[in-house]
């Protein structure tokens, strides 16, 4: 169809500036490069503070004031360690976590991992819609008016938007999380106490305190986070060469997660805990802001909750469908027609539908829906972490990028601590669930 060069129609002498013109400014280039790579880690970090996260942090602050703030420092380290591993596996192998589990461990273990992932993520998706419902009701709008359109919007954006646009959209929406910083200040906490709680670790050997501590970790380091982050890194085509910049993204993301967690705990502590009010739902935190700082702060909190829930409601079903189809070799891509990827769209749409319908059941207690995923996720997480660590230490898969000794010590101790804590947490949570509710 086209012709070859004859030399006479040479290149233009003058180069008009164009959209595709090359930039020659070194520092701008570098900035652009970092911004181009920022994404997977930051999004994962922000979505980590989803509805279950906000619920967990609010309750932590409401029940124990500033006493649990110190644990966020440790959680940050653990989160950095496990997410760096995910990003590294994605960049080096070019494969998702589900893919690697299937290739390394075969069908049976993959099936086990995927069924558990599906159950955990389904309950978490329900929780996200519970978050949407709670936020709507804070604005005085019935959940029946908000939840179904929210599900449709999420489905539409993911199916009809392109990945890059969705990602940019998500990054912009992440800025709403700044609202928690504002509410944190508006709530006028006693800063010396905040500092004390952050840097002086306190442990009460009581069941509620331990449960809350484990819940904080469990809601921050999640199975879906590991799958999503690795897929996003793979999808961006990040390779060995760009891995160093990708790591910055993970650090920034983990930092954001815990800064937001910090301010939510501070907000709840400065309002509910200080005034000795009990907190039974997320809404209590928002409501408690009203007398202190007026409607503005309460609305800001509600917007943050809505935003967190919406983002997670999009990402959880999507990454679940993606992981399962990847593991079993079914067509997977939002850019494929529905009939070519029936399982993918079935899982994605099905999870959204389950999430939206569950919270519409009349009289269903939102707190239970928000509480459940922490238990289920806590049980699955160690399984995923152990599989991850076996893969990341396999030189056949990772080559010279296997974990260093330091990384292994950090990662295994994180896993073992989590294993012990989540075992304790799961037991107490189940006991509570059975006994209290």
């Amino acid at each position: 169809m086209s012709q070859v060069h004859a030399g006479e129609a040479g290149p233009p002498e003058a180069r008009p500036p164009g959209r595709r013109a090359m930039m020659r400014l070194g520092s701008i280039q570098r900035l652009v490069l970092i911004f181009a790579i920022l994404g997977p880690g930051v999004i994962t970090g922000v979505v980590d503070d989803d509805a279950t996260g906000i619920a967990g942090y609010s309750l932590a602050g409401a029940q124990f004031g500033y006493a649990l703030l110190w644990s966020l420092l440790l959680v940050t380290v653990a989160l950095v360690v496990v997410q760096e591993i995910s990003a590294r596996m994605g960049a080096i192998t070019g494969k998702g976590l589900a893919d690697l589990i299937r290739e390394r461990f075969g069908v049976k273990i993959t099936l086990f991992a995927m069924v558990t992932l599906l159950v955990a993520n389904a309950t978490t998706t329900v929780a996200e819609f519970a978050g949407i419902a709670a936020a709507a009701e804070l604005f005085g709008i019935s959940r029946y008016l908000v939840v179904p359109p929210a599900a449709l919007v999420v489905f539409g954006v993911v199916v009809f938007g392109t990945y890059r646009k969705v990602e940019i959209g998500l990054l912009i929406v992440s800025l709403v999380f700044i609202s928690y910083l504002i509410t944190g200040f508006v709530a006028q906490p006693h800063w010396p106490s905040v500092a004390h709680g952050t840097f002086v670790p306190t442990i009460h050997l009581t069941l509620p305190f331990l449960t809350m501590l484990i819940g904080l970790i469990g809601t921050t380091i999640t199975p879906w986070g590991q799958f999503y982050l690795q897929s996003a890194v793979v999808d961006k085509g990040l390779s060995e060469r760009e891995y160093k910049s990708a790591r910055i993204d993970v650090y920034v993301g983990s930092f954001i997660t815990n800064v937001i967690a910090f301010f939510i705990i501070v907000t709840a502590a400065a309002t509910l805990f200080v005034h000795g009010q009990p907190a039974n739902t997320v809404s209590d935190v928002a409501e408690s802001l009203r007398p202190l700082a007026g409607n503005f702060a309460a609305r800001l909190f509600a917007i943050g909750l809505l935003n967190a829930s919406l983002m997670a409601a999009a990402i959880l079903p999507l990454s679940t469908a993606y992981a399962i189809c990847e593991a079993f070799g079914w067509e997977r891509s939002v850019s494929r027609p529905l009939r070519e990827a029936p399982v993918f769209f079935g899982l994605f749409g099905g999870l959204l539908a389950i999430g939206a319908l569950a919270v519409l059941i009349p009289g269903v207690p939102l707190l239970v829906l928000l509480f459940l995923p922490n238990v289920v996720g806590a049980i699955l997480l160690p399984v995923i972490l152990i599989l991850t660590l076996k893969i990341v230490n396999d030189p056949h898969i990772m080559g010279r990028w296997v974990n260093s000794r330091t990384q292994n010590i950090l990662a295994w101790s994180t896993t073992i601590v989590l294993l012990v804590l989540t075992a304790v947490y799961a037991t107490t949570a189940i006991l509570q669930f059975a006994g209290v509710i």
Binding site: Q3, P12, R19, R20, Q29, V32, G106
Partner: protein
């Protein structure tokens, strides 16, 4: 017919019926069609040993039988051949007949003339159920026989660790570029880059041009810079510019430094034009002849340049490089070789300016039924040409575009 999953992990007996180990894997040599099993990998008291097929009586789901005793002299298994369970099972391979990336749920084996040969791969749900020991449950899904993909229709290249095993991407290479692009776009950028690097540059270039924009940039960025530059050189300059326009500036600069200077210069000049103008769409690699030359000279020029792609139109320019007219291949063939280009060419040809918006270019091509339209600057200098192919996706829905390309390519 049996399946790999049914024999793997089963006991291995010697001729006396004593268990000497467990069957770990089957090793094949891929040089032959429907490759026969070359040797067995057996776990013998914790160490892996290789038993040549000549010492094997049978491999069945109830166990593997040897013809004689287990020899202590059996060596460690060869690492550079393909182990079916290690390298193929659970991996993603290319189904060249279905033009799809599929995951191997099982490998079908069939006995033939005292040999066990690989018949095909199973990527069905029945295969998955067999793997978890629910073979009977497969009957619930309508008792379908497992769908097998013929071994001769698959390319296992993508599954293999490129460092350990050098298996050329033969079957993938023989597919049409548009089909290769289809398969490659189902892979992650890293995997796609490995495949592109393994293909010959010409095939890789054609496949790259067919990839969706988003994939192009990601795959290119994931490739080794030297290999990526080679592929870009093979591509049409306008297509190469298209791809480079989508990758970040630093990578684009690096790749252009690695390309042959002429090719890089051409791409660089095209990159200077905004993407949605005639300049951004056009190909600067066109055949232009002086309007004073004879048709014979024009044919000689064409022969000398030996253009790889099809040529439909020649462009006539004056000594200053200003556009004068067009000459079709038909004109060139039918008129006398001594005739002058200026006398034969059509000079009442539509042109577009380099900064004309893409819709205008597309409209003119369609309205005047042209195969290509010359692109000129404000002084009338010929800069390149936009072909119908370049604007196809502006005037047709996306799905038609791919189909049309497939038909034309």
């Amino acid at each position: 017919m049996s399946f790999l999953s049914q024999v793997q992990g089963r006991p291995v007996f010697d001729a006396d019926g004593a268990q000497v180990g467990q069957l770990r894997d089957l090793v094949i040599n891929t040089d032959v069609p429907y490759p026969p099993i070359h040797s067995l990998v057996v776990n013998h008291h914790g160490s892996l040993r290789s038993i040549p097929w000549s010492d094997v009586a049978s491999v069945t789901p109830s166990g593997t039988a040897l013809l004689g005793k287990f020899k202590e002299g059996y060596l460690a298994p060869p690492d550079d051949l393909i182990w079916l369970a290690r390298d193929v099972l659970d991996k993603q391979i290319v189904d060249t007949s279905g033009v799809k990336l599929v995951r191997v749920n099982d490998v079908a084996l069939t006995p033939l003339n005292h040999q066990l040969r690989v018949a095909g791969v199973d990527n069905s749900t029945a295969g998955l159920l067999r793997r978890v020991g629910l073979e009977r449950a497969a009957g619930l899904f309508g008792k379908r026989r497992p769908r097998l993909i013929d071994w001769e229709q698959v390319d296992i290249g993508p599954a293999l660790d490129e460092v350990r095993l050098k298996v050329p991407f033969d079957r993938l290479q023989r597919m049409r570029p548009a089909d290769i692009a289809d398969v490659v776009s189902q892979m992650s950028p890293g995997e796609a880059a490995d495949v592109m690097e393994a293909l010959d540059e010409e095939t890789a270039a054609r496949a790259m041009a067919e990839l969706p924009d988003r994939h192009q940039a990601a795959v290119l960025a994931a490739m080794e810079p030297e290999e990526a530059a080679d592929v870009l050189e093979e591509m049409e300059p306008d297509e190469a510019a298209d791809v480079l326009g989508d990758v970040d500036e630093q990578t684009a600069e690096e790749l252009m430094r690695l390309m042959a200077p002429e090719a890089a210069e051409e791409v660089r000049s095209l990159l200077a034009y905004p993407e949605d103008t005639a300049g951004g769409l056009m190909n600067s690699a066109i055949i232009s002849v002086g309007h004073h030359s004879t048709l014979g000279e024009a044919v000689d020029l064409l022969r000398e340049m030996d253009p790889f792609d099809e040529v439909h139109v020649l462009f006539a320019v004056d000594d200053n490089g200003r556009f004068r007219g067009c000459l079709s291949l038909r004109d060139l063939l039918l008129a006398s070789p001594s005739a002058r280009v200026a006398d034969i060419m059509r000079s009442d040809v539509e042109t577009v300016l380099v900064d004309a918006p893409d819709e205008e270019v597309a409209q003119k091509l369609v309205r005047y039924d042209l195969l290509a339209i010359p692109v000129v600057d404000s002084d009338g200098h010929l800069k390149g040409a936009v072909t119908v192919n370049d604007v196809l996706d502006l005037v047709t829905p996306r799905s038609w575009h791919r189909r049309a390309r497939r038909m034309m390519g």
